[in-house]
Symmetry: C2
């Protein structure tokens, strides 16, 4: 993900998103996040004076935004096309990393935040999930699916794809994502058929 | 989860499962796992001479087995009853911990194993997911659902419940699990209806 050249703010954020998706947030120090992005620690603190939580929060927003852009574009061809793009994106990350990388938003969501402290990274994870759900639900509603059913299917799709990404990593196989994709496509096509 | 008395092997394993579900595997040292179970480090090494990976592997097996026992029992009343029990179990853990704990199997699945080393904890996570899927698929097939459809729905259910558990933690709300539950119930009832 990171190439050896002058480190940009975005390269540090992208590198952090990748490392967090592999190792988890609690286990990654800011030194490791910088190293993974091939950025000097000094540049990293220059861009992110608040330290690790700031890098992590921006990494989650970066990943959330990148996925949302793909979804928004592909959903123009309909809910099934959007779902397929969402699945293909995670499938690519998991398979191309030899099942070592996954979703940085999920990684942050499953780790306990510091006690008695607001966790902007966790809040960014909640926002990313909600953005993806909203985009899918909007596309379903645009095809005539009821608001309640659209919201339910969108949450099901995001939850199942996120969960299947983890199952693929444990099993070292893309089968869970492929199975979940078939089931979600059938569920979406069923909902679209009922509006016809 | 752990009470101050002579530490048993099982208490250490149960405590480790809880801490791993909160903090992730990479970020939890064996010292912290022992402390969380209120067990001396000496007893912990006595029971688990191979150290942290051994505790973690047994913790994942323990959680996988506990969930499988609930599933097996509740599936006797049918696939929907089993699904509801599976959801209720995770909902209870997430809500009762104030959204700080979740699924230790998922926690281990989303963390990169050591390079060039077999990871028995990751293999145990894959087995736990597969056990739960098999139990759900068997119950669906027993009601006449085709093997392929049963396998697909079972993977969808496990993936969506695992993903929704993470979404609940990020959002500090049980809504994702509740929505996913409704959708999965409808999908299972749809599949059962088609066999009638």
């Amino acid at each position: 993900m990171a190439k050896p050249s002058a480190p940009s703010r975005e390269r540090i954020v992208a590198g952090a998103a990748d490392l967090i998706s592999r190792r988890g947030l609690n286990a990654a120090s800011i030194r490791e996040l910088a190293k993974h992005a091939k950025a000097p620690l000094g540049s990293t603190y220059h861009y992110f004076p608040e330290g690790k939580q700031q890098v992590a929060t921006e990494a989650v927003r970066y990943a959330g935004g990148a996925v949302a852009r793909v979804l928004r574009k592909e959903l123009e061809a309909g809910p099934v096309a959007g779902l397929r793009a969402f699945l293909a994106l995670w499938r690519g990350i998991v398979v191309d990393s030899d099942f070592r990388a996954g979703c940085p938003v999920l990684a942050v969501a499953v780790e306990e935040p510091p006690v008695d402290e607001a966790s902007p990274a966790l809040a960014a994870a909640a926002e990313a999930f909600e953005d993806w759900e909203r985009l899918l639900a909007d596309a379903l509603r645009a095809e005539g699916v009821s608001p309640e059913q659209a919201a339910g299917l969108a949450t099901l799709a995001v939850a199942a794809v996120e969960g299947a990404t983890a199952m693929c990593r444990a099993r070292r196989s893309a089968e869970p994502l492929d199975r979940v994709g078939e089931q979600l496509e059938a569920a979406i096509e069923g909902a679209l058929g009922r509006t016809a």
